[in-house]
Amino acid sequence: MLLQPFHGGVRLPPHKPGDAAPAPQSLPLPPELVHPLPPPGASGACAVTVGQRVRRGEMLAAAADARGAAVHAGSSGTVTAIAPRPVGDGEATCVVIATDGRDDSAPLPPLADWRELPRERLLERLAVAGVVGLGGAAFPAAAKLAAPGTILILNGAECEPWLRSDEALLCHGAVEVLAAAQLLAHLCRATRVLLALESRMHGARAALQAALAAPGAGGVELVAVPTRYPVGSERQLIRVLTGQEVPSGGLPRDLDASVHNVASAVAAWRAIVHGEALTERLVTLGGRGVRGAGVYRVRLGTPVAHLVAHAGGYTDAAARLVLGGPMMGQAVAHDAVPVLASTQAVLVLGADELRAAAPERACIRCGDCAAVCPAQLLPQTLLAQLREGELEAAAQQGLSDCIECGACAWVCPAQIPLVQLYRDGKSALQVQEDERARAAQARARHLARAARLARDAAERVARVAARAPATAPAAAQPAATAPATPAAAATTAAAPMDKAAVLAAIARGRARRQAAAPAGREDAP
């Protein structure tokens, strides 16, 4: 398989000792689970009430539509509250469940004969089971799998330092991954199935090759992509494997390809074959700030504090708590936040692992950022344009193609928070585009109104012109010349009114009114 290089990318210190990832360790059930409900628009109404007893896998909120994803209880227990709770660096309405420790579950009926079932039935099961992408974006799997693609790429290339969740799954769950590959290949009607993993994942490669040797598990091509951040990003992986580039603003389906994280594939497989809703995921715990670093099988909704406490607690070097990887992860202010489907890792970084708190300096245009930018942009030019407020020019330079991978901020010798700037720039661009769409709407309505007024005026003139010949048949002398404007036609066509007739009519009207007046009843005005 000929691999194409992708532009830029950086070689990060992996912080991943050993050839194979450690086996996933399990965790005792936390006393309380916090399940954030998706924003009102993206999901159905909350299906449970406070005090109601729920079992593991029971639906807390239905999927908004056939392409959404439902929310499920992480374990059995009673719902103690449905209220806003801190989630990530913000807040969301959450269903809080006090677990009872029995952990009895309510599985959905397994669909063992999924090969014969219609695709729609399988996609609908994925939505009901709440399967979302576990690669960090948490995009509903049903929506992503809806578009078939001849090339199916299973993304096992976990390229951020410390992260070993996918690698642990590949090393210790290779059979399930390959089975899931078959299911997804059927769902996507894919003719080629590629499983990408980083060239440094020797343990995972060996486990997969052993599983491939087993009967009935063929058809999946193992591809070792170069260990270079951000090779695991969807666009870069497609470039490396197919040599094609996803068009700007487009999706992989435009290239007849689809990319799925290996963990999401397994979650989809479990939901269909075992009828298990998505209630747990593998989370990497790392960094010098915590003891017992490794890969844990964590129930969704488990507070981070519980995970850290049972792993071994904080060391005194703990300086920053990050949900996700060190390059794209989100720093959070405290550990009373739940683990979500998008939480690939919980990192407690020590002060020396962190970027130096050096003050931000002026950009010296060294171009290191442009050399490493996988989207082949010019971060230094975008920086200058955004600082001058030249949104239009920045959009022209490809600001919306920035994948926020952080490689530019990683190499920047002047310590400029570039990703933050581009994220703000993108949101400002979005606001500008909304305003422009609103303006276009207003222009359309204005033009429609102007057209309507013109049409009304023309109709009124036509109506008057049509009525005028009917009232004066006696004075049918021909209209002498073509009237200059329609309005003028009305007056010349009618016969000249003589003044006496008008006065007589008024007198008759006054007389009739006096005759009615003495009757003492005033008609309506």
């Binding site: 769409a437 303006a439 207003a442 222009r443 359309a444 033009l447």
Partner: protein, 175 residues
């Protein structure tokens, strides 16, 4: 003598070609007016002393208007016009009004008498109602141009800042 003439002619020919190319790139007045109209906020408010955004755009293209007469566009709008017309950017002229946050008209339904004067005045048909019946403003469509305030006999229309959720962009118009 002839060599210099030839060189001068060649040089001036190149200059003329350059100017022709620049002129074609800059475009005739008509499509320049369209490009300017695309940048204007389309509030049709008339604060620029022109009866709407399109007339102001055409005046700008003819070079009769200045780029700082559009308060709803704000300073950013003036900068965009400057960049489009190759002029020196300057902030909005306060004489035409001061740029402010986006506002939406709101009809006080207890005092509205259904006189339809505001409906006729609204440049974008954002007010729904009928004679002697209740009138109300469609918040998503209102551009905050304040043209409905003067004709209202009972002064029941007030301007309120556009709420964030009301800012949901209406579906793309088919026009």
């Amino acid at each position: 003598m002839t060599a210099t003439l030839l060189a001068a002619a060649l040089l001036l020919g190149l200059v003329a070609l350059g100017l022709g190319a620049l002129a074609r790139r800059a475009g005739a007045d008509v499509d320049l007016a369209a490009r300017i109209d695309a940048v204007l906020p389309q509030t049709q408010c008339g604060q620029c002393n022109y009866p709407g955004c399109r007339p102001y755009a055409e005046a700008l293209a003819r070079g009769e208007a200045d780029i700082d007469q559009c308060p709803p566009g704000g300073d950013a709008g003036a900068h965009a016009l400057a960049r489009l017309l190759g002029r020196v950017p300057k902030p909005v002229n306060p004489a035409h009004g001061t740029p402010g946050p986006r506002v939406v008209a709101l009809i006080d339904e207890t005092t509205c008498i259904g006189c339809t004067k505001c409906i006729q005045a609204c440049p974008v048909d954002a007010i729904v109602g009928a004679p002697k019946l209740m009138h109300t403003v469609i918040a998503a469509e209102c551009t905050g141009c304040e043209l409905c305030l003067p004709p209202c006999p009972v002064d029941c229309i007030t301007l309120v800042p556009r709420a964030a959720d009301a800012a949901a962009v209406p579906t793309r118009s088919t026009a």
